[in-house]
Symmetry: C2
Subunit: 460 residues, 2 copies
């Protein structure tokens, strides 16, 4: 099988850094320094006309002076010199180049012209290009990165495709994690479709997130997306939804921006999940990665308050989910623990019962009931995130985690309210298959994405 053109970008054995800087440390954004810190063990060739050595590595005056075989070049010089440098790389047999600088189709007429030259050089010589206007690639698995901004290396099975370094730098806020990343920048050669195809065949990657401002070769992208989405979920954040945003996008990456509705319809048909903002991206990535999909949209609910149950019903409705009709058996088990005046239904309001029988016993019975009830596709648990250890008797998360782990495969998510949301959520997630969301609406929204994923998988 022919090697994918992005392979030499994500897993190069040797790299030339064209325009390598001698300045290192604070504020220098030295790419070679970051590359070594991130864990790259291959050979690095700094190119700098006036340096003999950079970070202990022998520097060459120009690309042509490198004697060894080099897989990839990262180019950091002023825009006017870039086309010449790319031609030199192609001549030396280098297969790919990351063009980092800005000032091309994202800028003025001169920049647009320079970018067209790059496209032509790529077509004529066969050298493949990522960029310009890019941080390039990150591969936490092999320990390679072309980003001059420092990153934390995390081997997580999430592949990020974007048109801006903000998705590398902000990965904690967007996807919550980033195992491999391709910033296509202005996309003068390799583009969304290529990156999607690459991650589609990458066994390290289970979920793909794509940030799109505008797209040129749409047809090929949707063909590939339709195939990849059968194997792994794809989440897309389509930026530039408003008219003003679309105008700004044209000057940012120089791409044409289609109407949002057109994108959304095409996404749906290809099985791509649409995210509307950074919270969506984070929530959907976590849900699809850890919970997979949901068979139907009938939700069972355990709550400690009637008011919480009502807020949840609003959230379900808002997100195309429905309150499950519970089996008589499920109802009876909770009714038996509750006061006679209480009429048990979904949402299961267990506060009066637990005042008598204790949190653990009652929460276990209620959640087990929902997980065993054939009329329930997924469960949302409302519980308190108390001050610990002062309010430990209010903490239902250990019993929620244990019960969910013991009873199989329906997605269980929680909304934890109280003074300690972050810590109790993290502990629960680390020790069980349960995911916790910071609001009821976000919990319901995440389940709705699992439901749509389940529906899509049934059509193929």
């Amino acid at each position: 099988m022919k090697e994918h053109p992005l392979e030499c970008f994500l897993n190069p054995g040797s790299v030339a850094v064209v325009g390598a800087s001698r300045k290192t440390g604070k504020g220098s954004f030295n790419l070679i320094e970051q590359m070594i810190k991130f864990g790259f063990k291959g050979k690095i060739y700094p190119i700098n006309p006036s340096a003999r050595e950079i970070m202990g590595l022998k520097a060459c005056r120009q690309i042509d002076d490198i004697k060894d075989r080099v897989d990839l070049a990262v180019i950091l010089i002023p825009r006017g010199q870039v086309p010449g440098a790319v031609e030199s790389c192609a001549r030396r047999g280098i297969r790919g180049a990351v063009i980092v600088p800005q000032g091309f189709a994202d800028a003025d007429e001169t920049g647009k012209h320079l970018q067209k030259q790059l496209t032509l050089i790529s077509r004529n010589t066969g050298i493949r290009l990522v960029g310009p206007n890019t941080l390039g690639v990150i591969n936490a698995y092999s320990g390679f990165s072309t980003s001059f901004v420092p990153h934390k290396r995390q081997k997580v099975p999430v592949g990020v495709i974007c048109q801006s370094g903000i998705f590398f730098v902000g990965s904690a806020v967007f996807t919550g994690m980033l195992g491999k990343g391709i910033d296509i920048g202005n996309g003068c050669d390799l583009d969304f479709a290529d990156a999607l195809e690459y991650f589609g065949n990458d066994h390290d990657i289970d979920v793909i997130f794509i940030h799109i401002e505008g797209m040129i070769r749409g047809r090929r992208f949707y063909e590939i997306a339709g195939r990849v989405a059968r194997r792994k979920p794809i989440i897309a954040l389509k930026a530039a939804r408003s008219e003003e945003g679309a105008q700004a996008a044209m000057s940012h990456s120089g791409a044409l921006v289609g109407r949002h509705e057109v994108f959304e319809a095409a996404f749906q048909q290809a099985g791509i999940t649409t995210a509307l903002d950074s919270q969506d991206v984070q929530d959907f990535t976590r849900a699809l990665l850890h919970l997979g999909s949901m068979e139907g949209n009938r939700i069972g609910v355990v709550t400690l308050t009637g008011a919480g149950g009502i807020l949840l019903i609003d959230a379900l409705k808002q997100n195309g989910l429905q309150l499950a009709e519970l089996s008589p058996h499920t109802i009876e088990r909770v009714q038996a623990l509750s006061p006679v005046w209480m009429s048990i239904r979904n949402p299961l309001d267990i506060w009066p019962a637990l005042m008598k029988h204790g949190m653990d016993e009652v929460y276990r019975v209620a959640l087990e009931g929902l997980l065993q009830d054939p009329g329930v596709d997924g469960v949302i648990c409302l519980a308190i995130a108390p001050e610990l250890p002062a309010q430990a008797d209010l903490d239902a998360t250990p019993v929620i985690g244990e019960t969910a782990a013991n009873h199989g495969r329906k997605p269980v998510v929680t909304w934890l309210y109280g003074p300690n949301q972050n810590i109790v959520s993290e502990t629960l997630e680390a020790s069980s298959p349960v995911l916790s969301f910071p609001s009821l609406d976000r919990a319901a929204r995440a389940l709705s994405v699992l439901y749509k994923r389940g529906r899509f998988l049934k059509t193929i």
Copy 2:
């Protein structure tokens, strides 16, 4: 001036606890234990037919045995005994009672009948009631609470009015803070209007949050709200928006639930800010408390990435805000630091400039420009929340905080992306007038609420 009927609930000198339990410690939810822990220094009279002492306090067998004057009773006995106990309290001259138990209009026909009895007893004897089905009140200023669930005492100027204890327990998730709270429960006597009137005249309280499932005496509420909203912001979360939610609400608190659109229109007319979920409540409370209001809807933006600027433009549009037209002076100051090929406009994309001149210098010039520009009403700053100290040179928040503090009164909010959002946000907020939001959409949504508040204040 006549004392407000809620005064004896929020600031009692002495309290009888009817149905006080001898069980204390883990899982006991002992109300007297929590009351003392929360800081109550007044006299407590435990009432329990079979105890002589509870937590070192002399217990009485029945209410009539108390010899001293008592301001407030908290009632914790089975529902059938409640009307008799309330009559005894009235006879003893106790002015108010919190009815904690469930099982009234929130339950069956018997419960509905019992609740009607309570309303009649209150009318006939003059004793005022909060509840039933309530945690009662919290007053962190005086150190008094009737809640059997433990709480952290925080003197913050936020008053919470609700129909469920979830808003006390979950205050950290809903408002982010709670200085005083009134849980009206099923509202058999004192209701939303009374609680709103009380907090409206309370000098400790600057912002009021109300959770509403349904409402009986709407006219009086809106009259009071219209007056109070001129002095301090009111935020309302109307639950039971969906039809299914409305049905559940009827069985939860027994209240009639009106159509959501009717509420929303009435809220707007009265100057009440509508929140749609717990994130809204938290974001709006913080924004109104710390930033007050905004003169217009023209937003200036500083960004480190074009892509971030485009996401922000979508968020502004979505929330009824507009991108400010900047003065030539503001543009020129940033243009002077940027490459010639870059055409500076709002959002101010400063990355190319700071690669030359450093983060602090460039961010200061850009933000100062926006704060001094008469065409800008508020500012959103995008910045990185880096790993510290490893990525300290990427941290613009010190210069953002300092510049905002030095240049007056326009609201400045940030969205920080990167691996360290929580900690960098907290540090920034603790040391400056800037508020940080976890997503661009939430930052823009908070500013839109400040803009509406400013518009409302102009009409009065």
